[in-house]
Subunit: 242 residues, 2 copies
Amino acid sequence: MRKNSEHQFLTQYRPEDFARPSVAVDIVVLTVKSAELCVLLVQRNEHPFKGTWALPGGFLRVGPSAKEQGEDLDAAATRELEEETGLPPALVFLEQLHTFGKAGRDPRMRVVSVAYYALVRPDLLPLVRPGGDASHVRWTSVKAALEGELAFDHHGIIEAATERVAEKLETTNIAKSLVESTFTIPELRAAFEVVSGKKLDHGNFRRKFNALVLSGVIERAPGKRVTASKPAAVYRFRPALE
Amino acid sequence: MRKNSEHQFLTQYRPEDFARPSVAVDIVVLTVKSAELCVLLVQRNEHPFKGTWALPGGFLRVGPSAKEQGEDLDAAATRELEEETGLPPALVFLEQLHTFGKAGRDPRMRVVSVAYYALVRPDLLPLVRPGGDASHVRWTSVKAALEGELAFDHHGIIEAATERVAEKLETTNIAKSLVESTFTIPELRAAFEVVSGKKLDHGNFRRKFNALVLSGVIERAPGKRVTASKPAAVYRFRPALE
DNA sequence: TAAATAGTGTCTATGAGACATTATGTA
DNA sequence: TACATAATGTCTCATAGACACTATTTA
């Protein structure tokens, strides 16, 4: 009987027989702030890299037995996001990026890091506060972060995240998570420009924007955005239908 | 002194204090065979899922200390590919896909699986042989594999891999790893059709193909492919310049 | 000479880039 | 009224889809 022999196998299995790595989750939290693409860094207040800025993250919680195996990987990411930054996962775009597993990337021991990236709407920035292992949180422009010192291999993780976001900007609606819940056409264009690093023609951007309105992805919102010059019409992403 | 205190911390660190998962590497090995997209499956001859077909893969080798941390994640993938299937990593396209880490996906214990996908040129198929933990290897059409029973959550891993390959087919040159080292235009078109699951117009495909020749990605190779009708011109991807 | 498949040409719709121009608010 | 920026329009070119047609080999 296959079932019986498999059951017997499982009850006798000794997981302790093999060396295992720790598994961490690190999150590249991105937003658009002061016309720049910015990443959220936390200051480590424990060794290693004590005092150095790093990505928010932490270890995957693993249960004690085959029956209780702990939290899902995605759950670890949402938990760490909330614990370390105060951002409510429900309002943030969060997706797995890539897994970094070079030997020696953590000086303590073997750590495999599953990296995620998150996109935060500018109107959620006031919710950010330090927590968990971090004493301080800080938004830094991606440019400055990549020029400065970072813990572990977080430099490469941030690079991978910004590349991914630039790619997905063209083919998906992730821009939704980079502007306030209502926005003007120039505001959305600014978000695109900051992420792609290129200036976009306003006329041509409008054309693509209007196609999104036509197809029902975006709709007009009431009111106008009043500034120091001609006010702009306000739009919003149409809520998903389900 | 930051350096001294960090060194002291590292020498006193106890990694055993936290429960850890095992980390596995699973590989979705794909090829085009008999005008179908096929995946390489191995038959498990150990519990759990003994006798069931599964993706080739195995555990990441972790070293005993902070100094010796074991093999890189990518190295584990190339090693398992060679051990379990006999395919030489140098000739195969291999890339990380996604990490699967739901609690309970392995009945023995907590296992986080870093999935890779590989593309194998049809002329390398004779090199495939079973090895390592597997007693049998088999090419199965992706369609049949997804309809049948598979170990663990390998069903979802194969789905993710085929989606990714279909995406990257349009924007990269991975098709290179799905045809023989020299090929005809209809042969390359067949590979595209099999991966994308759509019929392509021969005329339009030729046009795109010729653009690749013009841009130097593909070049004419000597000879013609002789069949039961009009022979076709033979091409090859131009070797990378470095 | 028929069958099969390689290879070419053409028409059209669509979308992107590069502009120039108009409209409407505030200082 | 000047200035800033929102909003619209237009020209051109590159590309993709649909489809008709010609060419060359083998059986």
